[in-house]
C-alpha cells in the first residue's frame, strides 16, 4: 500500500459536496433534505444527484415521508458512511501535514 496520503482519498467521498453531506449527517441522527440544501448552498437537483451517489455506495440511507401534508426527505449516515468519512478526514489531515512539512 502506498504511503502517499492521496491513496487514502476515496473518489465517492472526496467530492467536496458529498463530504459536506456526510459531515453534517454524521453530526445528527438524521438530517432533512432542505437543511442540507441550505447548508451546502446547492440546488435541489444537484443535491439529489450527490445523495444518489452516496446512497448507491451504501454510505447513507434515505427515508421519504410526510410532515403533515408536506413531503419530507430525511437522510441518515450508515456505519460504512461513518467509516468512510473518518478515513477521508484522516487522509486530508495527513495530506495537509505533508504539505506543511510536519
Amino acid at each position: 500500500m502506498s504511503d502517499n496520503p492521496t491513496a487514502g482519498l476515496d473518489d465517492t467521498v472526496h467530492q467536496r459536496h458529498r463530504l459536506g453531506v456526510l459531515t453534517i449527517a454524521a453530526e445528527a441522527k438524521r438530517v432533512e433534505f432542505t437543511y442540507l440544501k441550505s447548508a451546502l448552498e446547492l440546488t435541489a437537483g444537484n443535491l439529489s444527484r450527490h445523495i444518489s451517489v452516496l446512497e448507491q455506495a451504501g454510505l447513507v440511507e434515505v427515508e421519504k415521508g410526510y410532515e403533515g401534508k408536506r413531503p419530507k426527505t430525511w437522510l441518515h449516515i450508515t456505519d460504512a458512511g461513518r467509516t468512510a468519512l473518518a478515513a477521508e478526514m484522516a487522509a486530508l489531515r495527513a495530506l495537509l501535514d505533508r504539505h506543511e512539512g510536519r
Partner: protein, 283 residues
C-alpha cells in the same frame, strides 16, 4: 466550497459546528426538569402533629411520628432496604410518604416522553435531529430498575431464595451477559446503573439521581459545553443534597424545608436559561 485541503477541513469543521448548534435543544429539558424538581418541594414538607386530646391552640405542634408498619405495601416494594435510610442536609427529615414516590414516577415518565417528543418536534422544525437513544435508554433503565429490578433482587437475595443461592445465580447471569455482549464495558455500565438504582431507593432525594443520569446521557449526545457543565454541576448538587448530612452539614433552619430541592432546581433552571439565551443570540 473550496478544494484546498486546509480550507476544506476548516469549512467542514464550521459545517459540523453549525449542524451541532442547530440541533441543540437541551435548554428545554433543563427547564422542564428544573420545574419538576421545584414542584416536588411540598412533598418533602414535614408534617406537624399535636398529641390527641390536647388543644392544638395551646401547644407547639411537633413533627409527626411514623412507623414502618403504617406504610402501604407499595412503599415497602419501592424501598426494600427499609426506606430513606441515608441522611441528607435536612436536620429533621420529613416522615416518608408514598405521595412523593408516586409524584416522581409520574413526573419522570412524563418528563422522559416530553423530552423525546421535544427533540422529534424540534427536528421537524430545524431539519436536523439529535439522537436521543442513549438518553432514553439510561432514563428508562433507571426508572425500571428501582420500580422492579432492585425490589425483585432484594426479594431474591433476602426472601425467596436466600443469598447462598441468589449470589451464585447473579454472578452467573453477569458472566453470561458479558460473554453474550462480548463487552466488559456494557456489563460495568449495567452494574453501575443497578448501583445507582439502589441509591434511588435509599436516599430521600434519590429520584434526582435518575434525572442526573438522564441529563448526563443527554450531555453526551448534545456535545455542548454549557450542557455538559450544567449536567456535571447538577450531578454534584444531587450528591450534595443526598449526602451532606453524613458529613455534618445541615441547612439553616429557615430554608431546610425547601433548600434540598430548590438548589438542584436552580442549577437546571440557570443552565436552561443560558442555553436558551445562547440559542437566541446565535440566530
Amino acid at each position: 466550497m473550496t478544494e484546498d485541503p486546509k480550507d476544506l477541513l476548516t469549512e467542514l469543521t464550521a459545517m459540523r459546528k453549525r449542524a451541532r448548534a442547530d440541533r441543540h435543544g437541551y435548554w428545554l429539558p433543563f427547564l422542564l426538569f428544573g420545574l419538576i424538581t421545584l414542584v416536588s418541594t411540598p412533598f418533602y414538607a414535614r408534617k406537624m402533629c399535636v398529641e390527641s386530646g390536647v388543644n392544638p391552640e395551646l401547644v407547639e405542634p411537633k413533627p409527626c411520628t411514623w412507623s414502618s408498619s403504617d406504610m402501604p405495601w407499595l412503599y415497602h416494594w419501592l424501598h426494600p432496604s427499609g426506606g430513606q435510610m441515608m441522611t441528607s442536609p435536612v436536620f429533621m427529615p420529613a416522615s416518608p410518604s408514598i405521595a412523593v414516590d408516586v409524584y416522581w414516577i409520574v413526573a419522570l415518565v412524563c418528563g422522559l416522553l416530553a423530552v423525546v417528543r421535544w427533540y422529534q418536534w424540534r427536528a421537524a422544525q430545524v431539519g436536523v435531529e439529535t439522537p436521543t437513544r442513549i438518553y432514553t435508554q439510561v432514563t428508562a433503565f433507571l426508572l425500571a430498575l428501582p420500580l422492579a429490578g432492585v425490589p425483585l433482587l432484594s426479594k431474591l437475595f433476602f426472601g425467596w431464595a436466600g443469598w447462598q443461592i441468589a449470589l451464585p445465580v447473579t454472578v452467573a447471569v453477569i458472566v453470561a451477559a458479558t460473554w453474550w455482549k462480548r463487552s466488559v464495558g456494557f456489563t460495568l455500565v449495567v452494574l453501575a446503573l443497578f448501583a445507582l438504582a439502589h441509591l434511588v431507593t435509599i436516599y430521600p432525594y434519590g429520584p434526582l439521581f435518575v434525572v442526573a443520569a438522564g441529563l448526563a446521557g443527554l450531555a453526551h449526545l448534545e456535545r455542548s459545553a454549557v450542557c455538559t457543565v450544567t449536567a456535571a454541576i447538577f450531578a454534584a448538587t444531587v450528591l450534595f443534597v443526598n449526602e451532606a448530612g453524613r458529613f455534618g452539614f445541615y441547612w439553616p433552619l429557615a430554608v431546610e424545608q425547601y433548600a434540598s430541592t430548590a438548589l438542584p432546581a436552580f442549577v437546571l433552571l440557570v443552565g436552561g436559561i443560558i442555553g436558551f439565551v445562547r440559542r437566541e443570540t446565535a440566530r
